[in-house]
Amino acid sequence: MRTNTLNIITPEGIDFSLRLAGPVTRFLAWVIDAASVIAVFTMLEGLFKAIGALNSDFAVALSILIYFIISIAYRIVLEWFWDGQTVGKRIFQLYVMDAQGLNLQFSQIVVRNLFRFLDSLPGLYLVGGAACLLSSNAQRIGDFAANTIVVWKQSIPEPDLDSVLADKYNSLRVYPHLAARLRQQTTPDEAGVVLQALLRRNQLNPADRVSLFNRIAEHFRTLVVFPQEAVEGQSDEQYTRNVLDILYRK
């Protein structure tokens, strides 16, 4: 099945996924890069004019060469020195990387950029865009030839669990044998649902929040039955929080 992620399995048996960039975002990044090339060239025009006052033939020759070199070398140089990023890619949080998760080689960067001559045909990167849509790894032809992919730079925040695992009194802990049974009966996926629900609780609208925690609490009440005095007066959300405390803290 086609997805927007690429999974890589390391020799140690650990798999990690990379979120692939789609053709639209890549096109927008390209537009910014094209504007950057034009901006650089416009800045150099003053220099060409000054040289043109001395020798117009040489100035025109220089401008043809410089434009050609900048239009090709701009992406190559930036992707090499900025670890797979250009100005456009940096703005959109994209970067180029090896399709097998290894470090980019200089030759890969050059090859993927030279293939722009083909990918940009017949205009506005139609060939590259079509290839990107058809490819399982969202690769344009240049990416395929250079064995590269373009992925989103994921800024993963350090996990903050303190907000849901605050040191508050937990009435369920009074019954350690039941707490141990709850831990034994709960699967990691069920525990994950509880954690995610509590982490995202402020993003839910009030009615959905009440409904969601009611369903979660009901589910866990069927797994282990705590005495009435341990759960009396607790809202479904509070009960869920107590369950999480037992699951994620010994």
Binding site: G13, F16, G101, E190, K250
Partner: protein, 335 residues
């Protein structure tokens, strides 16, 4: 079993932070080199983060922590498993005089096929113009070549002023960039299993053959050689090398029964493709200069003999360069 996530984080955090520090250094400063102790520590931290990822995946569904650890392992993976080193500087002379001709010879079969396709095109174009003079405007789509060769030679030789004056540099840079674009295009078309490259090489051959036969039939062989040889002796081999690179790409795609994935094959060959096309660009700079500053001048300004001699000399030098340069001597091999 579900792990005690708070304790897990508290115990492991310092190792993750240390690994992140290494990765930040490596990413920010490509010239950063670790000593043996640091490498061992980096490897240990990578393995520890991998083990932590496995634990969190098996015993907990904490999504943020899993993603965080996966991103750490993913970033470190490239540095642990990549054997190639980032070059600090490129030794251009060594590359041109050793790597380029060595790479050319490594893929000599592709070059010979490229040359054969062009020669076939030449024969076709030449035969078409030789057998049917009306084919000329179709096969040679250049306005300035539509008059008869004799008329052109008479016009060129009677010119008493330098028509290229004030335009030589821009014409030269136009030729360099245009021919480099065409060469890159010939190369990248190799991705069409070589069909695009073959068509381009054949078409170039057709034009070349048609022009050659047109001038020979009109008795203008000396002019033709004097006009084309000075720059063509470099430019045509450069185009053939671009075709060679295209055919290398096609060969990589086809694979010829190699037990290696197409991804890996492309990864292995990308350096050779880069070397060939960069070599082509260097050759085309020279060809562009010669075409603009020398080829456009004819007798009586420069004698045809001199131009032909220069062209033949360039061709011999290029052949010698591609054949011999960078070849290890017997003594080197035993050293």
């Amino acid at each position: 079993m579900i792990i005690d996530i708070s304790r897990f984080i508290n115990e492991e955090r310092e190792y993750w932070t240390e690994l992140e520090g290494f990765l930040d250094k490596l990413e920010k400063d490509p010239s950063f080199r670790m000593d043996l102790g640091q490498i061992k520590r980096f490897h240990y931290l990578y393995q520890r983060a991998s083990a932590d990822t496995a634990r969190i995946k098996t015993f907990s569904s904490e999504k943020n922590l899993r993603q965080y650890l996966e991103s750490l392992v993913g970033r470190a993976f490239g540095y642990i498993h990549e054997t190639g080193r980032r070059p600090r500087k490129i030794a251009l002379l060594n590359w041109f005089f050793n790597t380029f001709p060595q790479t050319f010879r490594k893929h000599i079969q592709a070059f010979l096929i490229s040359a054969l396709i062009t020669v076939t095109g030449c024969v076709f174009g030449g035969a078409a113009v030789g057998l049917d003079t009306q084919a000329k405007p179709v096969l040679i789509p250049f306005e300035h070549l539509q008059k008869t060769p004799s008329e052109r030679v008479a016009m060129e030789e009677s010119m008493d002023k330098d028509t290229m004056k004030g335009h030589k540099a821009r014409f030269s840079s136009y030729l360099m960039t245009h021919n480099t674009r065409v060469s890159i295009f010939i190369m990248v078309l190799g991705i069409s299993w070589g069909i695009g490259t073959i068509i381009m090489l054949f078409y170039n051959g057709v034009i070349l053959g048609a022009i050659a036969v047109d001038y020979i039939m009109d008795g203008q062989l000396r002019f033709l050689a004097g006009w084309l040889l000075p720059h063509g002796s470099i430019e045509i081999p450069a185009i053939l090398i671009a075709g060679q690179a295209g055919l290398v790409i096609a060969g990589t795609l086809v694979g010829r029964g190699e037990p290696v994935s197409v991804r890996q094959r492309f990864r292995d060959v990308s350096r050779d493709i880069l070397t060939l096309i960069a070599g082509v660009a260097v050759l085309l700079i020279w060809a562009g200069l010669v075409e603009s500053y020398l080829s456009q001048y004819h007798q009586p300004v420069i004698s045809y003999e001199l131009k032909i001699t220069l062209g033949v000399f360039e061709l011999l030098l290029l052949t010698l360069f591609l054949w011999k340069s960078g070849r290890k001597t017997h003594a080197d091999q035993h050293a």
